[in-house]
């Protein structure tokens, strides 16, 4: 591992505005429907949870792609489909030129070691009956990899790399704090020298002061080892900090994708606007807050019966008849930079500045604010 560390960072500047020329992973029309069974006495399929419904995504070599959205939007399912922990219903996953959508176990074996995963909950993703050494060593054992100097030496190097004491080799997970456990998870993911890591909410379960430690560790890993990341999170500020390109998901679909600057400063999709506006930022002066204020009403609809046409239309302030009948394609809208795609019939202006008038769709909130204004 130590010689790998001297590799030049594959991603030059952290602010690459277009996808890397060399594509590592391509996902086209990826779909996952979970069947719902019901009925008596004969159980039949009565419906499907359309968790992921036609997602297109690409990840370049050494690039970090952020996947954001609210719970139930399918971001975790997408991650699990890419790692082939779930079998896709439809679509195509191409990894390094090889179609792995329905690859068999044996075909997948060489690819599996290159795509690793970091899970959200550091408490349930480590086997409590195994020592740290065994946990980090087992991916090498499964794949029959014998690094120079032996597996134990490699594990100790990995522990050092993620900021843990190599002498903790024989300790059990319960002896570590949450942040340290997440470091063990990172070390395990790095054990096979992966090219792509799917990080599914890697810091959400951690305390604020510990989150930054793990984010910095992941960033160091990405810079020094040139590993590509799919970074799944709901915290928009952390995704912005970590990812060069970001895809915003809503109800199983990507509604907007683009480089960091386009998504955070020049968003076009109303949902991206609403999401950014809802982030609570530390603002000491209310007047200082120059961001637009958008308050949606209600929750995300059920993915069992998603709205027709544009899925966001039930909570959108710009929705018209066209939105209900015609599904907007994910395309580059005029005025957008290359690689910035938006799926909307009536896109917003590319700014997050205050528009002079708040958009408050929540009826209770609107009523209370009307009363207060009078």
């Amino acid at each position: 591992m130590s010689d790998n560390l001297t590799l030049p960072a594959q991603q030059g500047s952290a602010d690459a505005s277009s996808p890397s020329p060399e594509t590592l992973l391509t996902v086209e029309g990826l779909t996952k429907h979970f069947p719902i069974y019901g009925g008596f006495p004969i159980r039949r399929k009565v419906g499907a949870v359309q968790a992921v419904d036609g997602v297109d995504l690409s990840v370049g070599v050494g690039e970090s792609v952020g996947l954001v959205g609210e719970s139930g939007c399918g971001k975790s399912t997408t991650g699990r489909l890419i790692t082939r922990l779930l079998e896709p219903t439809a679509g195509r996953i191409t990894y390094a030129g090889q179609d792995i959508t329905h690859a068999t176990r044996r075909q997948l074996a060489p690819v599996r070691s290159e795509i690793q995963m970091i899970f959200q909950d550091p408490y349930s993703s480590l086997n409590p009956r195994q020592t740290v050494g065994t946990i980090i060593k087992s991916p090498m054992e499964v794949n029959g990899i014998e690094p120079a100097g032996g597996r134990e030496k490699k594990v100790r190097e990995l522990l050092e790399l993620v900021g843990l004491n190599p002498e903790h080799y024989n300790r059990f997970p319960h002896e570590f704090s949450g942040g340290q456990r997440q470091r063990i998870g990172v070390a395990r993911a790095l054990a096979l020298n992966p090219k792509l890591i799917i990080a599914d909410e890697p810091v959400s379960a951690l305390d604020v002061s510990i989150q930054a430690q793990v984010v910095n560790l992941l960033q160091k890993v990405q810079d020094e080892l040139g590993i590509a990341f799919v970074f799944i999170a709901h915290d928009l500020a952390i995704v912005r900090h970590f990812s060069q390109r970001i895809a915003v998901m809503y109800l199983g679909k990507v509604v907007e994708v683009g480089d960091r600057d386009s998504i955070y400063n020049r968003p076009r999709h109303p949902y991206t606007h609403a999401l950014l506006s809802a982030v609570p930022e530390v603002e000491i002066d209310a007047e200082e807050d120059s961001r637009e204020r958008i308050r949606l009403s209600g929750d995300v609809p059920s993915p069992i019966h998603p709205p027709s046409g544009c899925r966001f239309r039930t909570r959108c302030w710009k929705a018209q008849d066209k939105c209900a009948t015609e599904e907007p394609p994910l395309v580059q809208i005029s005025g957008n930079r290359g690689g910035h795609l938006t799926a909307c019939h009536f896109p917003e202006d590319p700014t997050t500045e205050d528009r002079g008038e708040d958009i408050v769709l929540d009826p209770a909130l609107a009523a209370l604010e009307d009363d207060a204004a009078k």
């Binding site: 609210e70 340290q180 930054a212 912005r240 900090h241 809802a278 609570p280 000491i284 909130l365």
Partner: protein, 353 residues
């Protein structure tokens, strides 16, 4: 009740002006491994119509404090010391019968997870009506009218139909709205919100926060708002209390504490979180180490093992002496006022932009 070791029974409010006044509160739990000092000498005041934000990491004692205010600890397991005075009434020595009259009436709570806080066995309407009937002596009909009024107020569509629904038929955001409606049923003077939006999505969180703020203006309740999210607290609080290892380490008006913080822990919290407009090339500055165990808290200042500015304090002051938290705007730190100011301006502020 033998564990209640309060000496003076008579309510002696230290600050007559405050609506809620907590003085030198200590809560300890006996466990197999030893005594956990969950709250260790905490004092604060809250006035009517104001919002006090309490921030801190998990295990800093913020939830324990507020469960103590409501009298929800089992005296068999918890040792509670100190003084809590709500509107002239001492709560720690109060009998269970008296607390029952206050809970849900004069003081109410919004819990973090509405699915576990609402009973799955009763309809939402019945759960809303119950406290109103108990405390206000209202009839079933009156309570139902009030419940529907409150459900409308918090934005539940079709409140008349939803009155007879069970909690599982509500979505996450709606359940939290129902919780808020339940807490506001008896028009409480004190509302304790314990991480009310942590389990929600950001767009729903923004709705709920604005709703709470607008409802507070209408009802004029005092709110204690507990969260670990500094962004959320900056939207809600008038005053702020930063807690660490069961103690308050910094206190003051929210704008002052977040705008010109004086404690190294507050500096650490602020510089470890990225913002939407921060410089992406600047690495985050985490607080090293992890929060201490409350079984065996560090000597002196509990933050000293993680503090980056310990060397600025002469001698072994940090490891030996616990820094006191003065009255009003204050930070419990041995650094001098000038040192705090220069460190914040020279080293911390550049990180926040």
């Amino acid at each position: 009740m033998t564990t209640l070791t309060k000496e003076s029974g008579a309510p002696t409010s230290a600050d007559a002006g405050a609506f809620l006044s907590v003085r030198d509160l200590r809560v300890q739990f006996k466990t197999e491994d030893g005594i956990v000092k969950a709250v260790d000498g905490l004092s604060f005041d809250l006035e009517r119509g104001r919002t006090l934000g309490i921030v801190g990491e998990s295990g800093s004692g913020k939830s324990v404090t507020n469960l103590t205010v409501l009298g929800l600890h089992n005296p068999q397991f918890a040792t509670i010391d100190g003084e809590i005075v709500l509107d002239g009434q001492e709560l720690i020595t109060a009998r269970e019968r008296e607390l029952e009259k206050l809970r849900g009436n004069k003081m109410a709570m919004i819990f973090q997870d509405p699915l576990t806080a609402l009973s799955p066995y009763y309809t939402v309407g019945r759960q809303l009506s119950e406290p109103f009937m108990k405390h206000k002596g209202a009839s079933k009909k009156e309570a139902k009218d009030r419940a529907i009024e409150m459900l409308t107020k918090v934005g539940i569509p079709q409140p008349k139909v939803r009155f007879d629904d069970y909690p599982h038929q509500f979505s996450g955001g709606m359940r939290q709205r129902a919780m808020i409606a339940m807490a506001l049923m008896c028009d409480p003077d004190l509302l304790i919100a314990d991480e009310p939006t942590t389990a929600l999505d950001v767009t729903v969180q923004a709705q709920i926060l604005d709703l709470l703020k607008d409802l507070q203006q209408e009802f004029g309740s005092a709110i204690i708002f507990i969260t670990h999210d500094l962004g959320v607290i900056s939207k809600m609080a008038d005053d702020l209390l930063v807690m660490y290892a069961g103690r308050a380490v910094e206190r003051g008006a929210m704008k002052e504490v977040l705008g010109a913080p004086r404690h190294p822990y507050t500096w650490g919290l602020l510089s470890s979180m990225p913002r939407l407009n921060s410089d992406i090339h600047q690495a985050l500055t985490p607080i090293p180490g992890s929060p201490p165990s409350l079984l065996n808290p560090p000597s002196g200042c509990p933050f000293h093992p993680r503090c980056a500015f310990r060397s600025e304090v002469p001698g072994t002051l940090c490891t030996d002496t616990r820094p006191p938290l003065g009255a009003g705007r204050a930070a419990a730190c041995h650094l001098t006022a000038e040192q705090k100011q220069t460190i914040f301006i020279d080293k911390i502020q550049p990180r926040l932009r």
